[in-house]
């Protein structure tokens, strides 16, 4: 009993110890890659290729004054960024990284992920409310409306996967794809999941809660120092999480087709797939303009919702008739 428990704790520690620096590195990767795509250098001064830029940023942010505005609701103000980071980190508990790595094989793993995604809204909404400033409040309200709307389609889009695999357990979903990845039949579901995922992690082009042209910095206008860093960490972990979930649900997790699977260990394949999605997220950020807020909500309810329902019904019909 005891050694198993210790091993589990060690596993959790290692996963967290790798995830957080990875999220920090993503900040540098994003700036550097965008720089190269836009035909400029990007941050290339600190260390070889500028790889230590995130470390420098971290040192800078640790040295900043962690100011709590006197007009804010102190308790909630402190709590908000912590809720955000914890919710995203908790979601990683159900992600199966490889055949033997993964914190928990919860039998409602997919529901757990959706639950954590829906709880993460509180971070942004409460940050906006507790800051007691107009920009932050507007950002928080946008975040609430956007996330509640897109959560609906996100839940519906993955139900096709559940229908085909017959389980909520993420490890079993991966194993069910050994014959072929689910993207073959669930491409519409994948598209909806991806768009909803971008909206959930409020990344560009759906970063209206923090649209700097209108709202200064949106919900985290009043935040500084470590708390601001926590919001940043949550955002980049969120990008990694959505990428990991896309891979697990639609791209076969750590599985690869026959000749390729022997070349590298499963965990490496999983990480490579995740990095492809992260790069795609960064590419989206650089290439798409930000929509207006009413356009965003209209697109969600008028296009995504019917599409998600249609996908679910067609999948169910094909399943019933034995095509899939």
């Amino acid at each position: 009993m005891m050694p198993e428990m210790l091993w589990k704790l060690l596993e959790i520690t290692i996963i967290i110890a790798l995830l957080i620096p990875m999220a920090a590195m993503l900040v540098w990767v994003e700036r550097r890659v965008i720089g190269i795509w836009q035909d400029r250098h990007g941050p290339n001064r600190v260390g070889p290729f500028g790889i230590l830029q995130s470390l420098a940023d971290l040192l800078k942010i640790l040295g900043k004054e962690d100011w709590i505005p006197p007009f804010s609701d102190r308790l909630v103000f402190i709590l908000a960024p912590i809720i955000g980071a914890i919710c995203v980190l908790m979601s990683f508990a159900v992600v199966p990284f490889s055949p033997d790595i993964g914190v928990s094989d919860l039998n409602i793993g997919l529901l757990f992920f959706l639950a954590m995604a829906s709880l993460a809204v509180y971070s942004v909404v409460l940050a906006g409310w507790a800051s007691n400033s107009k920009y932050a409040l507007l950002g928080g309200m946008r975040a609430a409306a956007q996330t509640v709307s897109y959560e609906v389609f996100m839940g519906l889009s993955v139900m096709g996967v559940v229908l085909l695999t017959g389980t909520f357990n993420l490890r079993e979903i991966v194993l069910a794809q050994s014959e072929g990845w689910l993207i073959q039949s669930q491409f519409v579901g994948f598209f909806i999941f991806l768009v909803a995922g971008i909206a959930e992690s409020h990344r560009l082009p759906f970063d209206l809660p923090e649209a700097e042209t209108e709202l200064t910095a949106g919900f985290h206008t009043e935040y500084s120092g470590l708390k601001f860093a926590l919001f940043f960490l949550g955002e980049y972990l969120g990008v990694t999480l959505i990428s990991a979930m896309s891979v697990v649900l639609f791209f076969g997790g750590w599985l690869m087709p026959e000749p390729l699977s022997a070349w590298l260990p499963p965990l490496v394949w999983f990480i490579i797939k995740i990095m492809c999605f992260v790069m795609f997220f960064i590419l989206l950020r650089t290439s798409l303009p930000r929509p207006r807020f009413d356009q965003l909500l209209k697109f969600g309810w008028m296009v995504m919702l019917p599409l998600a329902l249609l996908n679910l019904i067609v999948t169910a019909l094909l399943r019933l008739t034995g095509v899939l």
Binding site: V76, L106, L111, L114, A115, S118, G155, G166
Partner: protein
């Protein structure tokens, strides 16, 4: 008594205690947003209780639907109408127990009921033996309880239509 409780029982009692205390804080607090947050905590604790009783699907839905969607809308409404401060004006000044006696009596009855269920070894054994799978929930919902599900969906449809009616743009420029 506490020593011979298994781990799962002590976890259950812990979650239940959290739920009770959080619910008390919901009705005694004067800050709307703080009260809503306590309600979220209470719902999460109830979800843990569900999970420990062998109903993981219900636990998941509790978090997604109640804590993740409905209460976010509550918070949204509070933000939207700026209810953070002025609601205390109309609140009763005295926070005596008498004001909440009825609700407390009801809650106490529920608590008593739960305690009896938990203390009964036979019920406890059946609870732990039967972990309800999501498939079983689906079969129940679309089998014996189909009528209830349909009635609930009709109710929601009516609510949706009413919401649409109130929210649609005012074309004639007249009052609704």
């Amino acid at each position: 008594m506490l020593t011979d409780l298994a781990t799962i029982d002590s976890l259950f009692y812990l979650a239940a205690t959290v739920a009770v205390i959080a619910s008390l804080k919901v009705v005694t607090g004067s800050n709307t947003v703080h009260a809503l947050l306590y309600l979220v905590v209470s719902l999460l604790a109830v979800a843990v209780c569900f999970y420990l009783m062998g109903a993981p699907f219900a636990a998941g839905l509790e978090v997604i639907v109640y804590a993740g969607a409905i209460l976010v809308l509550f918070v949204f409404a509070v933000l939207m109408f700026g209810l953070g401060k002025d609601e205390t004006i109309n609140a009763p000044k005295s926070k005596s127990v008498a004001n909440m006696f009825g609700a407390m009596l009801l809650a106490f009855a529920l608590l008593l009921e739960l305690t009896v269920i938990i203390n009964n070894a036979q019920i406890q054994q059946t609870l732990q033996a039967n972990v309800v799978s999501s498939k079983a929930v689906g079969i129940m919902l679309y089998g014996p309880y189909l009528l209830a599900v349909e009635i609930a969906s009709f109710l929601l449809l009516a609510g949706l239509l009413a919401g649409y009616h109130y929210a649609k743009p005012d074309v004639q420029g007249s009052q609704l």
